[in-house]
């Protein structure tokens, strides 16, 4: 979510630190920051804080707590009475379990036009498009306070018996609606719509997208502003089914408080009156079951027991003060009444997290666990795997991992993103055979006479998941079930002593052998160093592969492997190198056989 430092600043009397400092404060006390560009922070709000932090005001509250900076006024802490009420708009909710609240304002005499510069700049700075003063006001309030809103052009709704009528209902099978984005959406009964109660026509996909035919344009003079509360799961499913994610659906699917609707409506109404004039004919508020208040209790000892700290009661009290969490303290026990938007605060551990992150995780000193009273069990499958590794590597087998996904098998994945090899393997054999073939081509490069590989891996066969041990070599590809081995302790086995991995060339290599008659007692290493000096960087592997004596002379045969990191080598290039090598060894008085 894009957050503007300037926008945040409007909440504070004192100047905020620069964006980088704000990013650091949030990183270590609240949320990861995806990026900072100029004065815009991209904040990755965690799913547990989607209730209250998908807004500038939410981030303001965090920064106020982290930096201990007072804010001028918190719009959510003053009551937002929706008065006077109007009878000119009637709302019915057929699915109250999916629409916990529906508030609206009927505003007459508005003048739709471009937004003032300050508003355009605000919205555009965080990547939003300015549309007109009314629509921009609703977007501004959503981005400011977190409550999505929608404005209907009342003139395009049906007026009958002295009133407009809005009806929240399930969509009909195959029902269609043209969205504000000019796309036609085909709806399903699992989705909710707001319909014109007089005609039955859907005018909005609830909580996701408004309808084009009742949208605001320059001819609009009367609007019905809607701020409702929709069920998170339902919105999420609708958004997924329609492949339509909007700023509104992103917020509703995180579940927001129905209390917020009134604050959002009130703020948007005031902003519209300011920007587009007009007057409020009245409000509506369908809120059958108001949100219950909740209490969370945290004894001081619990916080310290979980964190392994010795924080004092005043330190914890200070955290709650900074977070603006209304609290009572009785002895060393705190009782918190979370503000309505803090739906994440339910159990004592939620408060422990608040304490830890505001105090700072750097204040928690590491403490090693005490010695464990029991000897840990030895895992018989892992022990057997380790035993197999030891035995096989001693015989020259190297361990490979191949994919569990295959072209055939008994069980199949339903939604593989790349669409290929959707089966779970029933055998290691196919993967090993393929790996053997691929590696066999490189055996000279690898300096191997024969490629031998093994895999310890899971297969799904005969309805069960089991671990197999497979081997592949010139004798064929085999697999057996890995039988667990009981043991009382693990063997002390070597680990890799490699410091660095060196990337290898993806180009083909060329092999050349060279055999020489040398005087008896000539060290192969002496010969190799001369060869290497001549062959240069293209020589990637060189070793003695044959040696025999004949009278005073010793025959030494070397295998040389050439490869470039930049291209496929040609025979001519390697011939030229070999010529240099031949000359150099002849100069030493060695005869090339």
């Amino acid at each position: 979510m894009k957050i503007s430092r300037e926008w945040l600043q409007t909440y504070f009397e004192k100047p905020l630190p620069d964006a980088a400092t704000l990013a650091e404060a949030l990183t270590f006390h609240a949320f990861e920051i995806e990026s900072v560009e100029g004065d815009i922070l991209d904040v990755k709000v965690t799913p547990n804080r989607g209730h209250d932090c998908l807004s500038h005001r939410g981030i303001v509250k965090e920064l106020s707590a982290i930096l201990d900076l007072p804010i001028k006024a918190d719009s959510l802490r003053h009551p937002a009475p929706l008065e006077p009420k109007t009878e000119a708009v009637r709302v019915t909710i057929e699915n109250p379990e999916l629409c916990r609240r529906f508030t609206g304002a009927y505003i007459k005499g508005v003048r739709v036009g471009p937004s003032p510069e300050w508003l355009r700049v605000r919205l555009e700075a965080i990547g939003q498009r300015s549309i007109n003063n009314v629509v921009d006001a609703t977007n501004f309030v959503m981005l400011d306070m977190g409550q999505p809103l929608h404005a209907f052009d009342a003139g395009k709704l049906t007026h009958k018996d002295g009133a407009y009528s809005l009806n929240v209902r399930a969509a009909k099978n195959g029902e269609k609606m043209l969205g504000l984005d000019d796309k036609e959406y085909e709806l399903a009964p699992s989705m909710l719509v707001i319909a014109d109660g007089h005609t039955g026509e859907a005018v909005s996909i609830a909580g996701v997208k408004g309808g084009k035919p009742t949208g605001i344009d320059e001819t609009t003079t009367e609007i019905i502003l809607e701020a409702a509360n929709w069920d998170g799961t339902n919105i999420r499913k609708t958004s997924q089914a329609l492949k339509l994610r909007t700023d509104a659906s992103d917020r509703f699917q995180q579940v927001i408080s129905p209390e917020l609707a009134a604050y959002g409506l009130k703020a948007a109404t005031e902003l519209i009156l300011e920007l587009a004039s007009g007057e409020v004919a009245g409000f509506i508020d369908e809120y059958p079951r108001p949100q219950a208040t909740n209490e969370v209790t945290l004894p001081l000892a619990r916080a310290n027991d979980v964190l392994g700290t010795t924080l004092s009661a005043p330190v914890i009290e200070d955290v709650f003060r900074r977070l603006d969490l209304s609290h009572m303290q009785e002895g060393d026990t705190f009782t918190i009444n979370p503000a309505f938007e803090r739906l994440d605060l339910v159990i004592p551990e939620d408060l422990v997290e608040e304490v830890a992150r505001i105090v700072g995780y750097d204040k928690i000193s590491p403490v090693e666990l005490p010695a464990f009273p029991e000897r840990p069990d030895v895992n018989s499958n892992f022990y057997a795997s380790e035993r197999a590794r030891t035995e096989l590597t001693a015989k020259g087998y190297s361990e490979v991992f191949t994919s569990v996904f295959a072209d055939a098998g008994e069980r199949v994945v339903a939604n593989k993103v790349d669409g290929v090899r959707p089966y779970l393997r029933a055998t290691l054999v196919d993967g090993l055979r393929d790996a053997l073939e691929r590696n066999a081509r490189n055996k000279d490069l690898l300096g191997l006479k024969e490629v031998r590989i093994f895999e310890i891996g899971t297969v799904w066969k005969d309805g069960i998941e089991r671990i197999m041990l497979g081997t592949a070599d010139s004798g064929g590809v085999k697999e057996i079930s890995l039988e667990p081995i009981e043991a009382s302790t693990y063997d002390d086995l070597p680990i890799s002593t490699t410091d660095r991995y060196h990337s290898f060339s993806k180009y083909p290599f060329i092999v050349r052998d060279i055999a020489l008659w040398t005087p008896a007692g000539t060290e192969p290493e002496t010969v190799l160093s001369i060869i290497r000096a001549q062959a240069g960087q293209l020589l990637v592997r060189s070793e003695l592969f044959d040696r025999f004596e004949k009278g005073e002379k010793t025959s030494l045969a070397f295998r040389l492997v050439f490869q470039s990191f930049e291209k496929t080598l040609t025979d001519e290039e390697v011939n030229a190198v070999m010529e240099k090598v031949n000359e150099a060894v002849k100069k030493e008085g060695w005869e090339v056989r």
């Binding site: 799913p47 992150r357 403490v367 464990f372 015989k395 361990e399 339903a414 191997l448 093994f454 680990i495």
Partner: protein
């Protein structure tokens, strides 16, 4: 060429061997679990609400004609399975376990993303386990893993449904032998936290009596950092040009 050249174990196996040894010495038992896992163990028991955005973080492989089963997206099912197994044997906490193995994410692969990779989950449950113990345990693990270097650990706030509080773990290594890409830089290395009381309860224990810490850490990522490996897909390439370097 020599007659029998020793073969090589996979670098991931070497890391698992080393990790298991370090944790075994700290009293942790290696506990394994199935790769094809029920949604209960992979999600529900770990406090993932149904149809919740938190499940989107996981990119899950679902099975055809086997509703309720997934390829495990993490090794965290051990937080439920291990207590259950111990309780079935009549053994009460304290528990310490690591679960090390393959996990899956349904995403397109490239040099930094693999659909199959390895994870180590660690958990300690007892009456007096703290977040400070988590820090101490991870610090010791990474110190022993990067022996000879100076290792620091830090926590940042995060969110996982199965831990509360939840933290992201960063590591910084200093020392001459440390590869340059890694040296003196904070690197995200694990997700962790105190086990959520609901998770403790779902494992069959009383959260008023027992607390626990849990962490999860990608082994491929450690390998990549430790050895400077430039492409995660090498892990499953079965290419000896890669494996024989270890």
């Amino acid at each position: 060429m020599q007659e029998t050249v020793r073969g090589h174990i996979h670098p991931i196996s070497s890391l698992i061997r080393e990790a298991n040894r370090i944790f075994f010495d700290m009293g942790f038992t290696f506990a394994d679990g199935p790769l094809l896992e029920s949604e209960w163990y992979n999600f529900d028991a770990l406090n993932f609400p149904k149809d919740h955005p938190a499940r989107d973080m996981q990119d899950t492989f679902f099975m055809k004609d086997e509703p309720g089963y997934v390829l495990r997206t993490h090794t965290s099912a051990a937080q439920i399975r291990y207590p259950e197994t111990q309780l079935a044997k009549g053994i009460q906490p304290p528990y310490r376990a690591v679960s090390i193995g393959k996990v899956f994410r349904n995403e397109a692969t490239d040099i930094t993303h693999e659909a199959e990779f390895f994870q180590i989950e660690g958990l300690a449950i007892g009456e007096d386990i703290t977040l400070a113990n988590l820090k101490g345990t991870l610090e010791r693990f990474f110190r022993e893993l990067f022996k000879g270097a100076h290792v620091e650990i830090r926590f940042r706030p995060s969110f996982f449904p199965f831990t509360e509080p939840s933290v992201e773990v960063d590591m910084r290594i200093a020392g001459e032998k440390v590869p340059e890409k890694l040296r003196d830089r904070w690197i995200e290395i694990a997700g962790a936290g105190m086990m959520h009381p609901t998770v403790i309860r779902n494992g069959g224990l009383d959260p008023d009596v027992y607390k626990g810490f849990a962490f999860g850490c990608g082994i491929d990522r450690i390998a990549i950092l430790k050895w400077g490996i430039d492409d995660i897909r090498l892990m499953h390439s079965a290419d000896l040009r890669f494996i024989d370097q270890f």
